[in-house]
Amino acid sequence: MIKKRIIPCLDVKDGVVVKGIQFKGLREIGKPVDLAKRYNALGADELVFLDISATETGHALMIDVIRQTAKELFIPMTIGGGIQSVEDISKLLKAGADKVSLNSAALRNPELIKEASEKFGSQCICIALDAKWDAKQQDWFCYTHGGKKATTIRALDWVKKAEALGAGELLVTSMDYDGMQQGFDHKLLKLIQETVTIPVIASGGAGNAEHFVNLFLETDVSAGLAASIFHDEDVSIQEVKDLSIQKGVPMRIV
């Protein structure tokens, strides 16, 4: 049986890992390659690097981070943040990324999903989605630019379209739950997983090991992602996996 994946996310700015709290306020926490190795040893099933650099120089440093990490680490690595074009994707894959995650650029230009998946294969094109509930319109909407800009695109419409255009995986962040450490947004995630057949990575809201277990027991998502709780060692990946197995959720043990 396929295992549910536990994925730590490392926010990288100008080649250094930082931590974001509800997309605001940043602090530095270490060298990407060191953290990547630590998480590999601790049982991470995959790593996500999110490049939040604002400059070309910052993005260029990310290429070195990937290259260095890929030489020492042999688990899947997804890179997201600031990816604009097929050329950007090509550079990241050549440096050693296994998957790229597209967010703002794909929302602006959905054809990019088609172009990229035809050129590189669906399996390496992950669509990242920052979704927020709109009480007035009673629906979830997509946000871009790290959650700063609202769009008029409905989250459920978007995931359907992204899948049809060739996305191979979705990384769904609930902006309402992110940073709250009260558990994942099961309602949103369930609806999204029911809308698509591609795997979904859930993000936003994990505060303890039970939150991951509940996510996997109550929804069909393939993976759970978290950042700060793993970086701060509030929860260990081992703890999440032990509790999951105890509750009957299949996990990979290293």
């Binding site: 049986m1 396929i2 295992k3 549910k4 994946r5 590999n40 099933d45 890929a70 030489k71 020492e72 042999f74 688990i75 899947p76 894959l93 050549k94 440096a95 050693g96 296994d98 590189f120 294969g121 669906s122 399996q123 390496c124 191979g168 995986e169 057949t197 591609i198 795997p199 069909d220 393939s222 993976a223 990979r252 043990i253 290293v254």
Partner: protein, 192 residues
Amino acid sequence: MIAIVDYGLGNIANLTNALEFLGYEVMVTNDQKELEKADKIILPGVGHYKDAMNRIEELKLLPVLEDLKETKPFIGICLGMQLLFEHSEEGNVDGLGYLPGTVKKITGNVTVPHLGWNKLHSSFPSLDDDVYFIHSFKVHTDQNVIATAEYEEDVVAIVQKGSIVGIQFHPEKSGEKGLQILDQALKGGFKV
């Protein structure tokens, strides 16, 4: 020297990284003479079956691959493994036909692609770990199967016939164990 067959499809950066980490010298080439000089051949691949076969034909690689598969360790990985078989539903096209069997879309009440870590089942006790899969099509064959994984139905994970080895998952992305499997495949494979 290991030659990775370069036919323009797929990301071979990490396969190269893994092989170098294991201490092998690696070249990425589609030159017939270079391929003939290599001790071992890897047919990588990610992407569309039909594109892959078209590229292999355009580069006139069919005769040299046909010849090399008998004479040195010849390892197909992911799409590279699927190409070893007779036919694929993906593009409805014939493959290299080195091994009996066909390639079909994964169906059933499961998420597609089959993406993530799944446990190997094999009569070889060393092949019982979780390895990293990512594929939407799978091989159907009842011959030469060394290991399978369970995804509602069986997924053929490793095949071997003489010098030819096929690996459906990504050994270069399956941690320490994946590297061991890759190394074993290069050193003659799994049959004693």
